[in-house]
């Protein structure tokens, strides 16, 4: 029978404990996120996927950047890294290449991943680096008080776009797809089961995966745009989301308070960076090739 983390933890999880307690740093709870923010749901989905996964927990590492979503790394009871703004992906790249046995998950926000970290995002996708990206998109820079970002829909108001944003936002699934991501999906914080299943799929497969989660920011984005509470936004997602699996990602644009196209858009096999590198060098260098074997006792005679 296949071992899963959930079986190992069931004893603890039964009864008075929250089922995800073993996966959380309980000494850091309560978290800093606002009431009805979508980040708690995203964390729940991620940890449920981890719990249901056959991947040993010690082999899963979480890397976050800066911002509200960037705080995720601090709450997971896993090897976790809270890095610099925009640099979660290259940090994760180094971590993965130094220990290819790890399943590396980057959980960060839209501003972190595709504004300040946009260059790293496109290159990691191009290389098909074997890392999983969960991008929580709340349409603004929330930690700093609600400024517009690369995903803010046109006409939406933010503190730095007081008359409404007039920049064209990124269509993130299209961006990831066109750069070479081998798994691309979008869900909302309402679609918990879909999201959890999608994260589970991404964890099990190899290659660069990208999951966008549309998430309510009640305190700054929703308030400034008079969209109500987080619950009102979940109702909006309920009424306006259309699941279109496999749709051309060019059709996934998001306009202010209009229909949201969600689903799994891309799921294809492609050789990862690591496999391409080792395979290519094996052919090119021949029998003298010595592949990197992961963390090791380094050669040396010192203490």
């Amino acid at each position: 029978m296949k071992h899963t983390n959930s079986q190992a933890d069931r004893q603890i999880a039964d009864g008075k404990h929250h089922p995800l307690e073993p996966y959380l740093r309980m000494d850091r709870i309560p978290h800093i996120w606002c009431s009805t923010c979508g980040l708690g749901t995203c964390l729940n989905s991620f940890l449920t996927a981890v719990r249901n996964s056959a991947i040993p927990r010690e082999n899963i590492a979480v890397v976050s950047g800066i911002g509200c979503t960037g705080r995720t790394a601090g709450y997971v009871n896993l090897d976790s890294f809270h890095t610099t703004h925009g640099r979660a992906i290259p940090f994760a790249t180094g971590l993965k290449l130094a220990n290819p046995e790890l399943t590396v998950v980057v959980i960060s926000g839209d501003g972190d991943l595709v504004a300040i970290g946009g260059n790293h995002f496109i290159h990691a996708a191009r290389r098909n680096m074997d890392i999983n990206i969960i991008c929580v998109n709340n349409f603004n820079y929330a930690m700093t008080g609600g400024q517009f970002g690369p995903t803010t829909p046109e006409t939406a108001r933010t503190t730095t776009a007081p008359y409404g944003s007039f920049e064209h936002p990124f269509n993130l699934p299209f961006l990831a797809d066109s750069c070479g991501a081998t798994y691309v999906a979008r869900w909302t914080a309402l679609h918990v089961r879909h999201l959890t299943a999608s994260i589970g799929e991404a964890l099990e497969r190899r290659g660069f995966s990208f999951i966008e989660v549309i998430s309510p920011c009640p305190t700054v984005y929703a308030r400034r745009n008079r969209l109500g509470t987080g619950l009102d936004l979940l109702q909006f997602y309920h009424d306006n989301s259309v699941i279109k699996n496999g749709i051309d990602t060019r059709e996934c644009d998001i306009r202010f308070q209009e229909q949201l196209i969600i689903g799994k858009f891309v799921d294809e096999e492609k050789t990862t960076f690591h496999d391409t590198m080792t395979g290519y060098l094996k052919d090119a260098v021949g029998e003298k090739y010595v592949p990197y074997v992961g963390p090791m006792e380094m050669p040396g005679n010192g203490d």
């Binding site: 927990r57 809270h82 790249t93 180094g94 040396g300």
Partner: protein, 388 residues
């Protein structure tokens, strides 16, 4: 001549290498098996050598999309368990400062090679400079102490790269390896010792019980032991001010404890870290304090001054940071003048002047970069300094 056989991981024996190649071989000898870099003159040959050699010695080289990514990647690799290095020059060094700060804050061992060229900005891509010395010291934001070495020859590019890795492992701090274009492109004899003669420090792993592990509980030397991802410690590290658990604590009390230890672990171990190379300093009336390629030029000026009967000593800063305050202060009490040539308009000199604190004269021999000093300029400063 046949192509060199590059297959053995340690190339024991004599070679005719430039400083960049020697640095790459020093990294391999030190156990470095991960390098992330981005091409930039005059450091590119280090990455080129590594790209050729790593597939033969079990290393992973990745050319990143920029220097921001390169620096972030080596930090990630270090936490994955590898000894890791990046290599760049001035403009790239500027971009790396952000994650050098993360490396300092998270106490991540790694080596950053900067083959210096003239600046500011794009400056002199192919010509030498020593203008990033203060950037090495203060380039990232916030208060911290750093370790920086400055090799003066290709042989030292090999030897001191090993030392740089040892210091980074010993003190858990990014070590700045401050070469310059001249040393990087200078080709000389480099002898690679036998494996048994190379002192390589292993990472100092945490050996206690897993459930009792806290990432930032330091030893007596103020340095905490390391762990790596994947070993079920389920640790957390952050660039935020943090407590012993590695958890963010955003207040003045925790900031004081956290930052003070980061600074003290270098300051209190400064005498153990510092490497100086002295020649005829005892009884000298003037001492020339120099580092990197400027030491080589100063050697000629010192010989000329001795011909004139001036008692001149030489103090070479093999480690520039932490600044050897104790030794400089001792000399300031004994000599008439401390002379420092450097290929900038006065950077490390300001530290020397501060420490001498008026107890002797100090003289800067500045140079804007693009070439080394004329020994006559250093000689003039020595002669001036020897006057009563």
């Amino acid at each position: 001549m046949s192509r060199e056989d590059n297959s053995s991981w340690l190339k024991t024996g004599p070679h005719y290498w430039d400083g960049d190649y020697a640095c790459a071989e020093g990294a391999i000898a030190a156990g470095c098996r991960f390098l992330a870099g981005y091409p930039i003159t005059p450091s590119t040959e280090v990455a080129e050598r590594i790209a050729e050699r790593f597939p033969l010695v079990g290393g992973t080289f990745i050319q990143m999309e920029d220097e921001l990514a390169s620096m972030a990647a080596i930090l990630g690799a270090a936490w994955g368990g590898a000894k890791a290095m990046t290599v760049t020059s001035g403009p790239g060094f500027s971009l790396m400062q952000e994650n050098i700060g993360l490396g300092v804050m998270t106490e991540t061992p790694c080596v950053v090679v900067n083959v210096q060229r003239g600046g500011p900005s794009t400056g002199l891509p192919t010509l030498t400079g020593q203008q990033d010395m203060m950037q090495a010291r203060w380039g990232s934001h916030g208060d911290y102490e750093i370790i920086a070495l400055s090799p003066s020859s290709p042989q030292e590019c090999f030897d001191l790269t090993v030392t740089a890795f040892n210091l980074s492992e010993r003190y858990r701090v990014p070590v700045m390896f401050m070469m310059d274009e001249c040393v990087g492109h200078m080709t000389e004899k480099v002898v690679v010792p036998h494996l048994s003669k190379i002192h390589v420090l292993q990472r100092r792993w945490y050996r206690g019980k897993k459930e009792r592990y806290r990432p930032y509980v330091p030893g007596k030397d103020l340095v905490p032991p390391m762990v790596k991802a994947g070993d079920d410690f389920r640790f957390h590290i952050t660039g935020l001010t943090h407590d012993e658990r590695g958890y963010p604590v955003i207040n003045a009390a925790c900031q004081s404890i956290c930052v003070t230890r980061l600074v003290d672990k270098i300051k209190q171990n400064a005498d153990r870290i510092t490497i100086l190379d002295e020649d005829r300093v005892e009884g000298a009336e003037v001492v020339v304090v120099s580092y990197g390629i400027s030491y080589r030029v100063a050697t000629r000026a010192i010989a000329l001054a001795r011909d004139k009967g001036i008692r001149v000593g030489s103090l070479r800063l093999v480690t520039v940071w932490p600044f050897p305050e104790r030794r400089i202060a001792e000399l300031a009490d004994k000599v008439k003048c401390l002379v420092m040539p450097e290929i900038n308009l006065g950077q490390v000199y300001l530290e020397m002047e501060r420490v001498a604190c008026g107890r002797c004269r100090t003289k800067l021999v500045p140079h804007c970069g693009g070439w080394v000093h004329d020994p006559e300029d250093i000689l003039a400063a020595i002669v001036e300094g020897a006057k009563p």
